[in-house]
Amino acid sequence: MVQSKLDLLQGTLDVMVLQTLEVLGPLHGYGIARRIEQVSGNEVLLNQGTIYASLVRLQQRGWIAAKWGISDNNRKAKFYSITKTGKKQLAQDTAYWQRLSGVMGRVLAMHGEGGEQ
């Protein structure tokens, strides 16, 4: 069951985090992790703890900002939000991923046709 989940490629988690923040606005770490799990339909192999390494990396690059705040159920939590440079980066990454998945799709489809001959 666990083995069948998708192993995340290097850097993909960062894009997922940026996208989540772009769409949903400021969120804490737990919220981001939950949302990624939900959207991916529990297809992604994600130890929720690894999200924090991604968050600190994005923060150090200046793509997201962080601020301590209070969550819905009155808990102290750190809220992350995407910055202006983060949005630019996300746009670049989105274009890249779309191109890549398009190419990959075409390449793999070609392989399937070749297999029938």
């Binding site: 804490h28 770490g29 737990y30 992790a33 939950r34 130890n47 929720q48 703890g49 690894t50 924090y52 390494a53 991604s54 600190v56 990396r57 923060q59 150090q60 690059r61 200046g62 793509w63 969550s71 159920n73 808990r75 102290k76 939590a77 750190k78 440079t85 980066q89």
Partner: protein
């Protein structure tokens, strides 16, 4: 691009805020888990189950923390800091090992730094003058000749200055300045000072700028010019307390009023470049017109024009020098000068090149032995720590990490050793720089500079890699799990392999020490041979003092004065004999020519260059020189102006081979002299050179002295003697400056000091090498005894005697020592050939030295093996067997 910079910056910032960032993250993760658990509870799980699930989904908290740290900080630096912390902890725990290792390293590195700083100063660093590679020393081509033939007359110098096109300027200094040749007369007792006469543009040629005042001007080099002087920096500090107002004031120098026009910079040390070991207090102009008739007395230095090569200048000099006149007044006399041009730097340090390189190699060998020794210590320690490494590896440490840990330890040890070594070297170097008694050029300028620091870093890093290599390789090649099972290297095969590596290291050490010992032995034997040389005079129990001297004195009054001095100082209790000379052996010298008077007028070819001494009766006896034939000079010779001469055996052989020279007539000093005596040859310049031709003339109208040294032979203690001699001299002449009574032995010591210096250093290095090698052999043998305890126990239980056990241990020790010594002897044979030119009357294969050193090495190895052997024989079989 920008985000990468920002990330790098933030990573560095994070590295220093590790703790606060960790705290923040932990807080964040805690609230994360609580939120997750809460959500699970709302889904209907029990509180406990909810928390368990939350933690599971999160993954390891510790792993997340690590991952976080890696993404935000500088992971490699973290690891390094960890390694360092761990290293410091283990080194602190192994206090004894650490102390020994750091001390051994410090010794080796200190020796290397010290020698390097000397090599750097004398060989590598340029002379302390601007564009010093343009500076050239000009001497006669015949290197055997004395000081007089390394110099030129005023007229020849002037002609060369005008005729050459290669030099920007050529200048020189008066080569026959004796120490304490002036007296400074102030309010109190006159003080002896050494003044050097320098020709025009001397400082300009060297490129020396005064630190105060100005240099000499042209008009100060003409006859009857207002006398002026430049002070050296140390003399100014010492004598005038660094008072800048001295410039422009007049001082009384030997009853002449001389104006001080400037102070030279502290960096200018005339003695260290031109006359090692000599101190100069002040400089005065060499006025050519005063010296036109005095013969060769200028030592020349020139500065080449830009773009002129040494070879070009040399070929021009080869044209000019043979044409130069000795004296303009006598154009018929061409002495056939030659001029050998040598870059000043090479002239100063060329003779020392080989010695210094040998020293450098010796000290390099020491460092090698130190490294081998440390390698050995580390290997022993590695064996003791194998369990620790096995454990770490079982806990998931990769091999690379463990090797890196070992390397970190080596580097920390090397750094500590280098630090301590630098401290030790700093003191040694300071000490050396203040050793005026060692006649090595530039020694006073030895110091720790950037190059030396760079060298320290280099050898420390090199040493760390070298001695860390064996343990590192060992570790990376061994099976760590096996180590854990073996429990401390006691496993048979692993242990034996280990032992073999260490034995090889010990053999290497022994071989290196053997090379050092043989080298040191050969040099020591040469030195003893030098001390053994028959000098032709007896330096012990003789002492000399410079007497107030006035070269304008009339011959008659001088004879009377000399007689008074000699008679009154002879009366001092304890004084055996007394005499006066104008030059002492092994200090300065000058030469004239001497010829046997022939039937026709003598041609220049008949003259043999000969060292000249103007002496009083009794001088030969006071110096302990041996009269072979004839008689000494007596007071009547002086009073009656008799032209008599005493020659040495070399002159006698050259001029009258196979005949007695007594009563014959010689031509010397422009007069006909009757030979009255022959003395045994005296070593003139040093104990190592062959004795040259010498002659001794009475101070008469014809032969004026150049200085006055009173030589006394006495068994009385020097200080007491000095006091009574000074009292007597002051009674005769109240103007006698406070000169020092110096033992003649000091002159000999000064002449042999470079050899003494090298022998001492190489000897110390050899002793150090021997000590380290014996420590190494001791360590290996006693380790193997510890390892073989059960085996020895079994053998003793089966009836082996104590002697038998001891012999076995000693045999294995001697086997290592012998293999090492054999390799060492072969290497020494090769090395000794390289140092052959440094040896004196000692063959590079001198059997006595070789045998002596092997015996010494063997004896020390025996001792090193005996201690563990005794320990082995004291093993109680019962305890040894039980403890296993």
């Amino acid at each position: 691009m920008r985000h990468l910079l920002r990330e790098a910056f933030n990573r560095m910032r994070s590295f220093f805020r590790n703790d606060s960032l960790d705290r923040e993250l932990k807080q964040e993760m805690a609230s994360h888990l609580e939120m997750a658990a809460e959500e699970n509870v709302t889904r209907g799980m029990s509180v406990e189950e909810a928390r368990r699930r939350a933690v599971m989904r999160f993954g390891g908290v510790q792993q997340s923390l690590e991952l976080h740290r890696e993404s935000r900080g500088l992971p490699w630096l973290d690891v390094l800091m960890q390694d360092l912390r761990f290293t410091f902890r283990t080194l602190k725990r192994d206090y004894g090992f650490t102390t020994a290792a750091v001390l051994i390293l410090a010794l080796g590195i200190a020796a290397n730094i010290t020698v390097f700083s000397v090599v750097n100063t004398i060989l590598l660093r340029p002379l302390p003058f601007p564009d010093s590679q343009q500076l050239v020393r000009i001497v006669e081509k015949d290197p055997k000749a004395g000081e007089s033939s390394k110099t030129y007359t005023a007229d020849a110098t002037q002609d060369f200055q005008q005729q050459n096109h290669s030099f920007q300027s050529v200048s020189g200094y008066f080569a026959f300045t004796g120490p304490d040749n002036f007296k400074l007369i102030g309010n109190s007792q006159p003080i002896p000072v050494t003044g050097m006469l320098v020709a025009e543009d001397f400082f300009q040629t060297l490129g020396v700028e005064p630190s105060l005042g100005r240099l000499f001007k042209s008009q100060e080099f003409v006859k009857h010019a207002q006398p002026v002087a430049l002070l050296t920096y140390p003399f100014w500090k010492r004598q005038f307390a660094g008072d800048p107002s001295i410039v422009g004031r007049a001082i009384d120098l030997s009853n002449t009023s001389v104006t001080v026009i400037g102070v030279l910079p502290n960096t200018f040390d005339f003695g260290s470049v031109f006359s090692p070991g000599a101190k100069v207090d002040l400089f005065t102009p060499y006025i050519m017109d005063d010296f036109r008739e005095d013969g060769n007395d200028l030592a020349l230095v020139g500065r080449l024009k830009k773009g002129v090569t040494l070879a070009q200048a040399q070929s021009e000099a080869d044209q000019i020098f043979p044409q130069l006149l000795f004296e303009h007044k006598h154009p018929e006399f061409k002495p056939g000068y030659t001029g050998q041009l040598t870059i000043l730097k090479d002239y100063v340090s060329g003779k020392l090149r080989r010695s210094l390189i040998v020293l450098w190699c010796a000290v390099g060998l020491i460092l090698l032995i130190v490294c081998v020794n440390l390698s050995n210590l580390l290997l022993a320690r590695l064996a003791a720590r194998s369990k620790e490494f096995g454990m770490r590896s079982a806990l998931g440490a990769r091999r690379g990490r463990i090797v890196r840990q070992l390397l970190t330890e080596s580097i920390v040890l090397a750094a500590a050793g280098a630090g301590l070594g630098l401290g030790v070297a700093w003191f040694t170097i300071r000490y050396l720089a203040h050793q005026g008694s060692i006649a090595l050029p530039l020694l006073s300028m030895v110091r720790v500079d950037g190059t030396v620091l760079g060298w320290t870093l280099l050898i420390a890093a090199g040493a760390a890699v070298l001695f860390g290599l064996a343990p590192g390789l060992r570790m990376s090649g061994s099976n760590l799990q096996q180590l854990l099972k073996d429990g401390g290297g006691h496993g048979a095969s692993e242990g034996r392999k280990h032992g073999r590596l260490r034995s090889m290291l010990v053999v290497t050490e022994m071989a290196l020490a053997c090379v050092l010992l043989v080298g040191a032995g050969l040099l020591l034997r040469s030195f003893l041979r030098v001390l053994d040389v028959d000098l032709g005079f007896e330096p012990s129990h003789a002492a000399a003092i410079s007497v107030d001297f006035d070269n304008r004195e009339k011959a008659a009054t001088r004879a009377a004065k000399w007689q008074e001095i000699v008679e009154r100082t002879s009366a001092i209790p304890g004084v055996e004999t007394v005499g006066i000379t104008d030059n002492l052996p092994m200090s300065r010298n000058r030469s004239w020519g001497i010829a046997a008077k022939g039937k026709q007028k003598n041609s220049p070819q008949d003259f043999v260059p000969v060292f000249v001494y103007i002496v009083s009766p009794g001088y030969l006896k006071a110096m302990g020189m041996r009269l072979r034939q004839g008689r000494d000079i007596n007071w009547h010779d002086l009073a009656d102006n008799r032209n008599v001469v005493i020659i040495n055996e070399t002159v006698a052989r050259r001029l009258w081979p196979g005949q007695s020279p007594i009563g014959r007539t010689a031509i010397a000093g422009g007069a006909e002299d009757q030979v009255i005596g022959v003395i045994a040859d005296v070593r003139e310049s040093s104990a190592e050179d062959n004795a040259g031709a010498q002659m001794y003339l009475p101070a008469t109208k014809q032969f004026g002295p150049e200085g006055e040294y009173l030589v006394l032979r006495s068994k009385a203690p020097l200080t007491a003697l000095a006091r009574s001699v000074m009292i007597t001299l002051r009674r005769i002449n109240p103007g006698q400056p406070a000169t020092e009574l110096k033992p003649i032995q000091a002159l000999v010591d000064h002449a042999t000091s470079p050899r003494r210096f090298f022998v001492l250093l190489v000897g110390i290095f050899a002793a150090l090498g021997l000590l380290l090698a014996s420590l190494g052999i001791y360590g290996v043998i006693s380790y193997s005894v510890t390892r073989q305890r059960p085996e020895i126990g079994v053998r003793m239980a089966l009836g082996a005697t104590e002697t038998r056990v001891q012999l076995d241990v000693i045999r294995s020790t001697m086997r290592l020592a012998l293999i090492g010594a054999s390799i060492g002897v072969v290497a020494s044979l090769a090395v000794s050939r390289l140092i052959a030119s440094l040896l004196f009357r000692t063959a590079p294969t001198d059997p006595l030295t070789f045998i002596g050193m092997i015996v010494l090495l063997g004896a020390v190895a025996l001792l090193a093996g005996y201690l563990p052997a005794r320990k082995a024989s004291k093993i109680d079989p019962m305890i040894a067997l039980r403890s296993n």
